[in-house]
């Protein structure tokens, strides 16, 4: 296990290096640059040239590349070309919002999805099963920005219970929770759809296993069979799903962040893309890569805890 974790940690370096290099050169192939984006309809040739010089974009491309790479290894993510603020400050301000959104959504998805999927499998072919499958299909089909707007209309306008826009201040957990509710419900309900499906399928497979039949034949109550024998065996596919979906939630939170005008890493990314802010974009994508590795490593650990066979290997 320690060796697996160590390998993953060592992998961080080449992966981040690869992401940085690929993004650096791909961005510069695309037409347009930050100076043109910043100047907009005032982008005359001389104004663009002057601003490019100020931004350091007139240096040879490999000098820029090495400069950025050395900074990255030193932990300095550079200064945003667009806003002039240190990128690390932008990420530090945005990351907690994204992480708490992804975590809360995952929790909602699991808390609602696991019981619904279990119930659906246990009551296979019954009304509850059909309802759960329809809900799950709807969750898989509805785009997050549509669901977000529906929730805003219902819970902010018609039933004015929650704020519709913003992320709340830091340091006040109650305010954080209030501002988190609708965005996390938006992603959480979609997440629930995935979890319901996977749980249902896993539960169906487990319920047809011999040891379940044995347990039932011993006269163990159905509730105990489900909770103690079947459900723990459904955890393995669920852990993989949660790990994959946590990454998906982090990366797809951008739509929800925009719809709810909530701060977050996704908004930093989109803003940097629109403004051709190379420095911010490179750094944010490296942070994403880092997050993916961390989450996958964490999933591996959980996976081995849940599955003794993997631990034995």
């Amino acid at each position: 296990m320690i060796w697996t974790i160590s390998k993953r940690i060592i992998n961080v370096i080449p992966i981040c290096f690869f992401v940085y290099t690929a993004v650096f050169f791909l961005l510069r192939i695309a037409p347009g640059d930050p100076a043109t984006a910043m100047l907009g309809d005032y982008a005359s040739a001389s104004a663009v040239a002057a601003l490019r010089e100020e931004m350091g974009l007139n240096q040879p491309i490999f000098v820029q590349y090495l400069h950025g790479l050395i900074g990255l290894f030193k932990g300095d993510l550079g200064i945003s070309l667009a806003s002039g603020t240190p990128v690390v400050d932008q990420i530090r301000a945005a990351l907690p919002y994204t992480l708490e959104l992804a975590t809360a959504s995952l929790v909602i998805g699991v808390v609602l999805g696991v019981p619904l999927g279990t119930l659906s499998a246990v009551k296979d072919g019954k009304l509850i099963d059909h309802v759960s499958r329809i809900v799950s299909l709807a969750g898989l089909s509805i785009p997050s920005f549509v669901l977000g707007i529906i929730l805003m209309l219902v819970f902010s306008i018609y039933l004015p219970l929650f704020p519709a826009v913003g992320g709340g201040g830091r340091g006040n957990w109650y305010e954080t929770l209030v501002y988190l509710t609708l965005p996390s419900l938006t992603l959480g309900l979609i997440m629930m759809a995935y979890v319901t499906r996977v749980t249902r399928n896993a539960m169906m497979n487990v319920l047809s296993e011999d040891y379940i039949r044995t347990a039932r034949s011993k006269g163990i109550s159905e509730r105990k069979v489900i909770m103690h024998h079947a459900l723990p065996n459904c955890l393995v596919p669920l852990i993989s799903l949660c790990a994959i979906n946590f990454i998906m939630l982090v990366s797809s939170s951008v739509m929800v962040e925009i719809v709810f005008s909530r701060p977050g890493l996704g908004r930093v990314l989109v803003s940097a893309m629109l403004q051709r802010d190379y420095v911010s974009l490179q750094s944010v994508l490296v942070v994403y890569a880092f997050l993916i590795i961390v989450v996958n490593t964490f999933a591996d650990i959980l996976y081995s805890i849940a599955n003794p066979r993997i631990r034995a290997k």
Partner: protein, 532 residues
């Protein structure tokens, strides 16, 4: 199981219901712009509307356009209480108000504005390395004669209209605090502006908002609002919902008429539409066949119904434009009526367009390559134009790209038609940047935005003479003559004049009449207030 679930749901509902009381309205004005961030709060680097709006809250010019007006003819004193011009028309003396205080900043106390700050600011505006407006100040010298007197010398005689446009509360004309700039440094000053305006910088939260607090020392009196929160909210629907839930007081609106109509239905919400907005024009690349032929350019003009384009956008959010820049807001511009009287309006006539194409040698129609931005405010009208031109046998090969890519490609001469939306504060700027041969994007001596490669010695001469003319009336006449010649040569087809749209709660009191604004947003002044 069910009991537990019901209890949990009730607990969740109670927890969720309770906080609804905790976000009651504050007295700070909460304003949402449709942007994802702000690049620079230093005025000389301001190019986006949010940056201009912020600059007008924090800074002042030597003179100013009164709040709610964008007409240079309305200019009035601001930091300067008076000004005089010497007989040669090259030297200008501005006398400053006494007792105007700069806002304080991190590590610096408020202090009195002097000529030194004015000279410092204008020199920065003149430097291409620090300013987007450097070309407006080319060859000018600035001197602090005494603490309250500034002398400005221009290389050529210059009219009052042009001079005041350079030192008013727009672009490079804003006066910044020299001491704050030197103390904070250029990089920090971009996010920590310090001026003499009614609101002082409070906090900047990248990607979220920038907050301002009332400047108690403001020379026109303490602002009625205690502060202003400028929020970055790119999504239109969330801005709309935020206004409806009263979490916001003012929002940037949509130029779509349907949105305007929808907002009018909500109680407690008011809509403001105002000018000047951007002039939408099509520059025709005269260097590429078949647009090198006048008859083809005329055919294009006749094949476009400006009224139909405006209908596609919105009757309240756009107006047809028939002149290269509108006389309604700029001295020296032609009004639509004047263009009509001159017979240069090229009113929609598809048969005439087809006939002209046939006469030019293209009876089977033509295909033109157009690189276009993805911005919907520009793309929607262009799609209407594309459909109309098809009826005349003119096919547009429309290639839609991101906005920054669009700006990069059109300057590389990649598009036969360039749909451009822009505003400039004077006729001189419009003519110099878009129609002077020196401004040709590829062949010009000082390339700016002459996308048509338009070159007419008579027009060049008129632009140059008008630039040096000190008599504002004669100058305006020359600008009009240049516009007339441009319409005859047709390197450009004027399409529409956009109007800015904002929506606000009915608690808002502007404190002035909003007819027009150069920042394309409502000015927030010391008189702006929120009713209880």
């Amino acid at each position: 199981m069910f009991k537990f679930r019901s209890c949990a749901l009730i607990a969740l509902a109670v927890t969720m219901a309770a906080p609804s009381l905790s976000y009651s309205a504050t007295r700070d004005l909460r304003v949402a712009f449709g942007v994802s961030g702000i690049n620079s709060m230093e005025p000389a680097r301001a190019s986006a509307h949010i940056e201009r709006a912020v600059a007008s809250m924090v800074f002042n010019g030597l003179v100013r356009l009164p709040a709610g007006s964008a007409n240079v003819a309305d200019v009035e004193p601001d930091l300067a209480k008076s000004w005089t011009r010497t007989d040669d028309g090259r030297t200008w003396i501005f006398k400053l108000r006494k007792g105007v205080m700069f806002q304080g900043w991190e590590g610096g106390a408020p202090y009195e504005l002097t000529a030194e700050d004015v000279v410092f600011s204008l020199k920065r505006a003149q430097d291409p390395k620090s300013s987007n407006y450097a070309s407006d100040y080319k060859g000018m010298t600035f001197t602090a004669v005494d603490p309250y007197t500034v002398e400005i010398r221009t290389p050529d005689p210059i009219s009052e209209t042009l001079m005041l446009a350079k030192v008013m509360n727009y672009g490079g004309g804003f006066i910044i605090s020299k001491r704050a700039f030197e103390s904070l440094g250029a990089q920090k000053f971009r996010q920590h502006p310090v001026g003499t305006g009614p609101f002082a910088f409070k906090a900047y939260k990248p990607g979220r908002e920038v907050d301002f607090v009332a400047n108690a020392n403001y020379f026109r009196g303490k602002p009625k609002l205690p502060g202003v929160e400028i929020k970055f909210m790119p999504d239109q629907s969330s801005r709309t919902i935020g206004l409806r839930t009263q979490e916001l007081d003012v929002i940037e609106g949509s130029s779509e008429q349907s949105w305007v109509n929808q907002m009018k239905q909500y109680p407690h919400i008011k809509i403001e539409t105002f000018g000047p907005g951007s002039s939408s024009v099509l520059f025709l690349n005269e260097d590429t066949p078949p647009l090198d032929k006048l008859k083809v350019r005329q055919a294009l003009a006749y094949a476009i119904s400006r009224k139909a384009v405006v209908a596609a956008i919105g009757q309240e959010t756009a107006q047809p434009l028939y002149a290269p820049f509108p006389g309604k807001f700029l001295p020296g511009g032609l009004t639509n009526e004047e263009v009509d009287r001159l017979g240069l309006a090229y009113h929609y006539d598809v048969n005439k367009a087809k006939k002209l194409l046939a006469e030019a040698g293209y009876p089977n129609g033509i295909t033109l390559k157009v690189i276009h931005t993805e911005l919907s405010v520009m793309l929607r009208p262009m799609e209407s134009i594309q459909a109309q031109l098809r009826d005349a046998g003119i096919k547009l090969d429309l290639q839609v790209v991101s906005h920054s890519t669009f700006h990069a490609l059109i300057r590389k001469d990649a598009s036969q038609i360039v749909h451009y939306m822009a505003w400039r504060p004077s006729a001189d700027a419009f003519l110099n940047e878009f129609y002077k041969s020196d401004s040709d994007i590829t062949k010009g001596r000082d390339p700016v935005a002459n996308f048509s490669h338009y070159s007419n010695a008579e027009v060049d001469d008129l632009i140059a003479k008008a630039h040096r003319e000190v008599d504002s009336a004669k100058q305006a006449e020359m600008w009009k003559k240049a516009s007339v010649q441009i319409l005859k040569d047709l390197p450009v087809i004027p399409i529409f004049q956009a109007r800015s749209v904002i929506a606000h709660t009915d608690r808002l009191e502007l404190g002035y009449t909003l007819n027009s604004n150069l920042a394309f947003f409502m000015p927030i002044t010391e008189k702006t207030d929120l009713k209880d």
